[in-house]
């Protein structure tokens, strides 16, 4: 309903503008000596001022965006070891962008205002200047060289997997429209698997090779638990279409591709409990809960169920279009101490015990 009302209002505004333009046209028709449809000195002047107004608008929307939405928990509150390196690269890049944006937009709109046309004035015939062009070729080259070197360094550090760290091996298994995690068990080695071996009747839902000794102690879960401080190496698999394992708080993402195994590794550094206690997160959760309470009131008025109170959890989201319920393909991630993790994993069923005969 809101949408329809909005549209109706917009159409009315449209009609009103229309009429105003007609009046404007009629008023102008008398004293328009120049070619019809071509800007007059007055048009140049009005639009010149509007250009300055627009520059102000760009600056205002920039400032408002940063003030209102610039508190970006996903840019400053990373929960993985490599997270801060990405964040600082991001901040440096943003500063470069901000400076260039502010200056170039100023020049563009200021020139549009300052040099607005007047009859009889003649423009400066200025077709070329090698020095100037050299300057604005070389400066970007230097800045970009810096960003490229910094960026590539960061990238190589993140993507390079050091097997000697003895990372915890976890398989992330994607299917329309949910996630599973598979742990290697005591030997930290994943058993062989292929979707051709899937046997729903025997509850072999991930297609593990039942004959593979490494597969026997594998553990399949619907929540992802990670011990804090230990490197994790994810092996991604998909059984049907492309999915993408996106773990924004850990600055981690990798596609899951049917027919191949992809990988991504990181070390979680902040437990779920610790993250919930940070001031920034508490503020965010309070804000969200306020919104949810408001929404719940409306829902209750319509005799619908109220929303649950929100509590922060790390999430794994699907971030590659994968079909109808793509928008709800998620898995909870729990980062905890080694002891908590050990206790949790001990409760889970091993593969050999989960089969139905």
């Amino acid at each position: 309903m809101t949408a329809l009302l909005t549209i109706i209002v917009l159409v009315f505004i449209l009609v009103a503008t229309w009429q105003m333009v007609k009046i404007f046209d009629l008023a102008q028709a008398k004293n328009e000596s120049a070619t019809p449809g071509v800007a007059t000195d007055k048009d140049n002047s009005v639009n010149g001022y509007l250009m300055m107004g627009f520059l102000a608008f760009i600056y205002v929307i920039t400032i408002v965006s940063f003030v209102k939405w610039g508190d970006l928990p996903l840019m400053s509150n990373s929960a993985s070891e490599h997270g801060p390196t990405i964040d600082s690269l991001m901040v440096i890049t943003m500063i470069v962008i901000f400076v260039v944006q502010t200056i170039t937009q100023f020049l563009l709109h200021y020139f549009a205002y300052k040099y607005k046309g007047e009859k009889g004035k003649k423009a400066l015939f200025f077709a070329d200047n090698n020095k100037l062009e050299a300057i604005w070729t070389i400066i970007p080259v230097i800045v970009l060289a810096g960003l490229i070197i910094y960026g590539l360094n960061t990238w190589i550090n993140i993507m390079g997997v050091d097997e000697s760290d003895d990372p915890l091996i976890v398989e992330l298994y994607a299917q329309q429209f949910n996630w599973k995690a598979r742990y290697g068990g005591a030997d930290n080695t994943l058993g062989k698997a292929n979707v051709r071996l899937i046997d729903i009747d025997r509850a072999n839902i991930l297609g593990l090779d039942e004959a593979d000794p490494n597969a026997q102690d594998d553990i399949i879960t619907t929540e992802l638990h990670l011990p804090v401080g230990r490197p994790v190496l994810f092996k991604m698999r998909s059984q049907d279409v492309l999915h993408s394992a996106y773990m924004p708080h850990f600055r981690a993402q990798m596609n899951c591709v049917p027919g191949m195994i992809t990988q991504f590794g990181f070390t979680p550094t902040v437990t779920t409990v610790e993250m919930r206690e940070t001031a920034q997160m508490q503020e965010k959760v309070t804000r969200i809960n306020k919104i949810r309470v408001e929404k719940s009131k409306k829902l209750l008025a319509k005799n619908e169920e109220a929303l649950e109170r929100y509590e922060f959890d790390y999430l794994l989201l699907c971030n590659k279009i994968c079909g109808k319920s793509h928008y709800n393909m998620q898995m909870k991630i729990v980062v905890e101490t080694q002891e908590e993790y050990d206790a949790w994993i001990a409760e889970q069923k091993e593969f050999k015990n989960s089969l139905v005969n």
Partner: protein
């Protein structure tokens, strides 16, 4: 000393050869000017569909739980009781992308202005092959019709995203839209590519062979340079998409395994083995990335021309502009991997693509600075075309700068496929190219229809659109940086993002205003064809050859001899001349130097 001094000297028989009927003049026309108008009007109709879709998506994102009368009216069975279905949301995403990128900003933009301007600006009677040109348009028309028909198939239109990555696009079991809808999508695109290739080859041949006497490559207007290079990129990259589409058709219909392997879906194992979806991604983006330059380069050309003409100044750094067009074209073919940093491709390749991608910023920066310098100390005529051109430079900078983030593989990890990407590419290629197209339409409308567009409506159109474009896409960066993935039908399953809902409402309101205000433009466009004020021959006092042709269209463009060219196209406010522009067909005065820029 006008070009027309000699035009009445002898009676030119051009144009009297053909007896024109309604059909040969307006429908199966081989005249490049008529074909340009056909492209423009078809592109406009497709654009209206594409924009309507985006408005529906925005309403769904802002008010996900609420029934919407518009949905019920426009989506029918896909919106029971006015609540949008999740499948149709993805279909809207897909078809909106496809229509806007290919049908509006490739065919509608490049098709219109390459056809209109290439013969007129290089001094040719028509395209090298008028027949191929006609075939090219009608193939485009056919592909548009098929694409529109695909919206009405039983199981829904294609819904795998405009990138149609398999297996989602290959398996009807994975998604309703991957059945008949996807088949029609692929057929439509295959025909579209054929159309585009015919057009491109024609443009290339025409530019190389049919330039008038004196029109050397370094006297070509920048518009022609960009159309020419765009056509070259198209010829290099579109066939690769065609092959990808054909292989996908094979996988879908004939059981091959080019892109598919090891799939278990809906309780059954499929026979596919050994293929790779990543291969498809490579093939797709080998076109897909050059495609964004196919979209933006012609807009750059139009804008360069309009900025110079309306600043009454030469374009700054003509040769540097050509060099940067060439550099962008070359680099555009070796950066496709930046769409695939996290596709499972070898990370080393990611490094290479980061390097090449960030290099593109250099020629782009040169262009932006040259445009800004073109304004400096000009005598700016603020016609609507000029406003859209300045707007183009503004959004191109804003959108282009965030490319430095996305092109950097390390940063891409966290913003890949979020709304940050949506904001980036809409500003840098969507809005910018659209501005380029609008600028071109406002500027060359008198050349197309012999009448002027209403400038006051033009001003309102520009200013409201400009405010809305920033209002939509600027805040969108921030919800992306907060981690909100794109292509989600609703975000209400993620309380984590609840505090972004109000931003989405703001964005949607700007989007609705921006969408509705295009009605002003449509009204202006269509009513001015019949009721617009009659145009004079050269209303903007430009130097290029198209303005030396008579207002009334005629076969062969010029009565009498084709004008000869004696100078580059940017002699605006040249010292030593009384007038502030010297058309290209005016010979140099005694002792006048032709500046070599």
């Amino acid at each position: 000393m006008s070009a027309h001094a000699d035009t009445h000297a002898h009676d030119d028989d051009h144009g009297h050869h053909h007896k024109e009927t309604f059909v040969t003049k307006y429908i199966f026309s081989q005249d490049h000017k008529m074909i340009a108008k056909q492209y423009l009007i078809t592109g406009t109709i497709m654009g209206v569909i594409g924009v309507l879709m985006s408005m529906m998506m925005r309403m769904q994102i802002a008010w996900p739980e609420e029934p919407n009368v518009l949905f019920e009216a426009l989506l029918g069975k896909w919106a029971p009781d006015g609540v949008m279905d999740a499948d149709i949301y993805l279909a809207l995403v897909t078809i909106h992308g496809t229509i806007m990128v290919f049908f509006v900003l490739t065919a509608g933009l490049s098709g219109t202005f390459s056809n209109l301007l290439i013969p007129l600006q290089i001094g040719a009677r028509d395209m090298a092959s008028g027949f191929l040109n006609m075939v090219s348009y009608w193939l485009f028309f056919l592909s548009s019709v098929i694409m529109v028909i695909s919206l009405f198939v039983e199981a829904g239109p294609a819904a795998a995203g405009w990138t149609i990555y398999p297996p989602l696009s290959a398996l009807p079991l994975a998604q309703g839209g991957s059945g008949m809808g996807m088949t029609l999508w692929l057929v439509s695109m295959a025909i579209f590519i054929a159309s585009s290739l015919l057009g491109s080859l024609n443009y290339i041949v025409t530019v190389i062979n049919l330039r008038t006497k004196g029109m050397s490559m370094t006297r070509l207007p920048l518009t022609i340079w960009t159309f020419f290079i765009t056509a070259v990129i198209g010829v290099i990259s579109f066939p690769v998409l065609l092959s990808a589409a054909l292989l996908l058709i094979m996988d879908r219909s004939f059981g091959t395994s080019f892109f598919l392997s090891d799939i278990f879906i809906q309780g059954e194992v499929l026979h596919y083995q050994g293929g790779s979806p990543v291969l498809f991604e490579h093939l797709f983006w080998f076109l897909g990335h050059p495609e964004v330059y196919i979209v933006i380069l012609p807009a750059m050309g139009l804008v360069s021309e309009i900025l110079a003409s309306n600043s009454r100044k030469p374009i700054f750094g003509y040769r540097a502009m050509i060099a940067s067009i060439l550099a962008i074209a070359f680099l555009s073919t070796i950066v496709w991997g930046h769409h695939m940093f996290i596709s499972g491709m070898n990370p080393f390749l990611g490094s290479v693509f980061t390097f090449t991608t960030l290099l593109i910023a250099i020629p782009s920066a040169v262009k932006a600075f040259n445009w800004i310098t073109t304004l400096w100390k000009g005598n700016l005529q603020m016609n609507p075309a000029m406003l859209f051109s300045i707007g183009f430079v503004s959004t191109f900078i804003t959108g282009g700068l965030t490319g430095i983030i996305l092109g950097d593989s390390a940063l891409d990890i966290n913003v890949h496929d979020t709304y940050f990407v949506v904001a980036h590419f809409h500003l840098v290629m969507g809005i910018s190219a659209l501005y380029g197209m609008f600028a071109g339409i406002y500027h060359w409308y008198p050349r197309m229809f012999g009448r002027m567009l209403n400038k006051n409506l033009g001003y309102i159109h520009f200013w409201v659109t400009a405010v809305c474009a920033y209002g939509v896409f600027f805040p969108m960066h921030f919800i992306g940086m907060a981690g909100l993935p794109r292509r989600y039908y609703t975000n209400s399953n993620f309380p984590l993002f609840d505090d972004l809902a109000n931003v989405n409402v703001i964005i949607t309101i700007f989007a609705l205003i921006g969408g509705v205000v295009q009605i002003i433009y449509l009204y202006n466009f269509f009513s001015s064809i019949f009721y617009g004020k009659k145009s004079v021959q050269n209303p903007w006092k430009s130097t290029t050859l198209e303005w030396t042709a008579p207002v009334e269209h005629m076969h062969g463009n010029w009565p009498g001899e084709i004008p000869h060219v004696y100078r580059w196209p940017y002699d605006y406010s040249k010292p030593g001349h009384d007038s502030d522009f010297v058309p290209q067909n005016i010979p140099l005065k005694d002792g006048e130097e032709e500046l070599q820029h």
